[in-house]
């Protein structure tokens, strides 16, 4: 067992790197677990853009982050942000959403 792995843990790894020095907002993501789930894609991270949250709602990420850091956000805002963030990560590439589904299934069965 590794130092950060407890007996009941289901380890999942997400790595975020840049491909080259020219653009710090194109984040290369790789998601995988020990059972072989593997997805990779590029996230165009734009904090200023308005993101889609739950159906028919939008959220401004930098507005939320400012509120969050100042402890002004409530549970509903946090939920909306969490949904939008997950959506953005998984939409970076179809293989990421497939890997995520496999990870959730694997973790549930663990």
């Amino acid at each position: 067992m590794q130092p950060f792995e407890t007996a009941d843990a289901y380890p999942v790894y997400l790595s975020a790197t840049l491909s080259a020095s020219e653009n710090r907002h194109r984040i290369h993501l790789i998601l995988r677990d020990g059972a072989g789930a593997h997805g990779a894609g590029v996230l165009d991270l734009d904090l200023h853009a308005t993101q889609t949250a739950a159906a028919h709602t939008t959220i401004s990420w930098d507005g939320f982050l400012a509120d969050y850091r100042a402890s002004r956000s409530g549970t509903a805002d946090q939920q909306a942000f969490g949904q939008a963030l997950l959506r953005a990560l998984l939409q970076a590439d179809a293989s990421l959403s497939q890997a995520w589904a496999a990870v959730l299934a694997g973790a549930a069965g663990h």
Binding site: P3, E5, Y10, Y13, S19, A20, S21, S71, G82
Partner: protein
Amino acid sequence: MSLIVSFGSQTEAFAQLPLELLHDQGQFLFARPHAALTRAFDYEPAADFFLSTPARILFAWARPEGAGHRFDPAPHEALLRSVFGDCLCVLPDATLRGLKEALQASAEQRQPFALLHLLAHGGHDGLSGLIALNAPDGSADWVEAGQLGHAIRGKGVQLAFLCSCQSGITGDASLSGVAQQLLSPAGGNLKVVIATQANLPVARSAELAAGFYHALTAQAGVSPGHALASARARAYEGTPLRDAWSIPICLARPWLMPKDAAARALDHATRNTLPPTRDSFQPRPEVMAQIRDALAANRLISLVGLPGIGKTELGKECARAYGAAHSDRRVIYQAINRGLAPGALRGLIATSLGHAGVPENDAGLGRLLDAQPTLLVLDNAEDMMASADTQTAFARQLDHWLANASALQVLLTTRWAVGETRAVRELPIDIPPMSRAETDALLKAELALGEVQTPEIRAAWAADPAWQRLLDFLDGHPRSVWLVSRHFDGPRASLAKVVDRLERARAQAVVDPALIGRQDAHALLSDADAQRMRSLVASIDFSFDVLAERHPQAAAAFLQLAAFPGGVPESVAIASLAADIDAEGWQQEALATDSLDQLYRYHLLEWQGSRTHYPMPLQWYAEHKAKGTPRLSPAARQAALAAYADFVDTLNTGLIRDQSPNWVADWLKEERTLLSLARPPAPAHTPAPGPSALARIAGSARNLMMMSQRLGVWQQLTEAGRDDARARLDIHGEANTLKALGDLQLRNDRLDDARKAYENALELYRKVEDRLGEANTLRALGDLHLRNARLDDARKAYENALELYRKVDARLGEANTLQALGDLHLRNARLDDARKAYENALELFRKVEDRLGEANTLKALGDLHLRNDRLDDARKAYENALELYRKVDARLGEANTLKALGDLHLRNDRLDDARKAYENALELYRKVDARLGEANTLQALGDLHLRNDRLDDARKAYENALELYRKVDARLGEANTLQALGDLHLRNDRLDDARKAYENALELYRKVEDRLGEANTLQGLGLLALISQDPAEAFRQFVRALHLHVRVDNKLGQEAALGYAARAAMALEQTDRALFLAGASLAIGLEIKDRFGQSISLQVLLNLFQDANDGLGFAASVALYRNVAGQLDDVQQQSAMDELWQQLASLLPVELMTAVRTDPQAALNQALANARQRFGEHDPLELDTEHQGD
């Protein structure tokens, strides 16, 4: 779920996001128990967290005037006391100095605080994270992150919990956050930090912190991430912290996961290794079609062109498209840096193919490349051809790869063609400049990507006449576009002014031959190309001037980094630059990092992975500006070496844990720079006493250099480390380098030098009371004694090492030594001791979860069981070993075990299983290019075919084995195969071939002084003489064989040689001599309980007594043969002897038959004694004229 997010260099924008809030299917994913999220920064060296109990904790709090709300620390103290009791110490109104002293004092008393709980106001000013401690006068002392890191560094703290606002925020610049600085090896060097990414309501956070500590210390082995998950889940479940549960986050140093690393290695080996497409890449259809067509029909293609003309991007994208269109083909990309040695290039390619062990030569790499159709892309190949000599050497290297890998294609990007290859014809393709339309598209893409001005302004510029002048200036040169595109930023930017300035710069630009790389290539430049080069130089001049005006420190950094011509890990670059910056310690690194950021932004520097390097022509420019090869200041050199020591430690730790090829690849990229740092041209100062970073590097890099076959580098670096350690009076460092030198000498078969180095190291380790170092050296000495066949000395050394390992509780060392002792006992035929040692080793390997060690010991136990004829136990051990080898992807171990299983199946007469095992082993040996293993397996397959009467297959297998043995200069293997081939030819009646094979084998056996092999071959030659109707010659060969078997105390061989000699004597019609010899053979058979051998001797005796008309001897032989046939379950022979016995009963006197029935062995001995008496006083082993016929 335990999500581990690793952030690469410069990913601060992403790391700032509160990933803890991820929400799916109606719930927060990390607001549940057991749902942990741990953040790690990839670029920091790995470190493991381990909390020994009972853990001591220091609770430091500060609420200075003017820093913010004056919170009440009492709830924190009360709850921490409830968890830690007497192990809690409180530091109220903490000052930076007070904090430092409290930590220092406890460390000195050997009771360090493993945990630091800090409650204070915090923030981030954009440049650095800050914590408000008390100033001596009670006012606020806003302590910068780096300053805090230095204060707690090296005092035994493993984990810090920062109850301070925004302490987990990364900021825009690398390493600017408080948590990052506390984790950084150059800062606090902690393993784990719990910090906050927002303002945490202090009054309510005590309960969350106490919940965290409770979970962390309740049982051993709970990770901080899970302890925090548990505390957060409770906070979310209804405490007043419901909206703030996600604010505390867990940040940790990266750690090493074998499975993950194995997956990376596998990825590496199976998919293409091309770097991603450049974001602004613009396709160039015409030239790309030309390259595509060339790839379809050629094996060696060179994309030739000016520096920065776009060769790399075109090569990458054409290779990508080619790989996509040919799914069976792997695409391996390897960038070449200046100064890369041919051996290092071989290593880098091998590691890209997924092999941590590097082949010894280029033919070996060719065979690895041959395993699968491959397109190998070598970028900047001109750096392998800096002179005519190195160009020829590179051509030969390519020849070896291409000749040994029939489905290999090589695509080079280079400033000049190789031109000298022999294996295949090189197709050079000249890369032209971009068309005007392509240049226009690339410039627009670059400006848009860099968000330069608004889209409206960019559109207006494109319509401006100055835009056309800019395109004229750029002249289709992509590197110029990239450099220039960064200079249109800012509210007052003017397109026309920038173009004016560029045109003036071009008029003054000078292109020196070094920019092209070689004088001869420079002389061939066309006028248009020379003009294009002037534009490139002007672009760089312009970029550098702007940088120098706006960011003078970054400009200085640009020049200083020219000391690392092959690139450098970013952590080393930062440390080296920081050392020369005139600022407080904690600010130096921030400023150095900022300089690097500016250089990246201006495209004057790039990074790949965790390395920073100049784009192609800029190395030349930096050197040119710095007036030749620049030298680092002593402080910068020392800082670089210290940072390199951390870096190499990480690589070594990784390699030991998972044997992934990535660690070796990362090492190979650094060796040249390290060599130049190790031996500065003229040391200008006397080193100060203290630990030698160079010695640390040399010690840590030992495994990496061994795996990468860089023995020359090993020697140079280790000797430099030893000298530096001596100069600095660093005894421990000197001991480590001496031990590493001993290992190197051992590897080079210089056994006496190795012994001296180990003995010197041992003395030094004892001096500084380093028990672990002493134990390691004793074990190495044990190995050395074993090589010298001084078995007793080896045993003593191992036993002493074992005792020391146990004293310092180094279980891996103990396990390895027990395994070595097991091998030694086996060699001494102390089989029971060997078993015990192996079993103890196995238990320890399992405890420390060393799968490879466990697998190796299981394999050794399997071999031992085989030797004890416990075939079923052997099979089980092998099968368990096989499973483990497969788990850790140790293919050589897997192959060896399959080979052993094949041998075992053969012994169990499961011939088909044996064949399958051998064939699988063969495939693996070929994959890892282990030719000795391949040859041994081919030989075993030959033996198997022989047993199946597939004589032609056997011959082919032997001949292939022979070829391989010769290639790897394994003379014993060659001799064994020649002997087996001799036997085969004998069976096929190809007597002349058999003789030649035997004679060749004999010569080799004599050379390697293998008496047993020599004796067996002499027996083969004897049989050949017997078949050739030359019994006297046969007799002499058998007697020679007998003498050799006596010399090596091989009873089985003696039994056989005597038996064969008896047959030869029989052919010579010397019955009494033959009887004597067959009787002697039988006696040995009885002594060693070889029933099969006894049955053969008795058959010979039967024939001989019949010839001699000796009723007593014949009857005794019949009786004894019947008994042996019974023991061998040979029913047929048993009944035949019964029948014969009945016949004899009617022919021979009753008394004689009664005597034989009562004691057949005594009867036989009597008959043999009669024969010996008849033979007289002559030597039965000496042929003489008197006894040419009885």
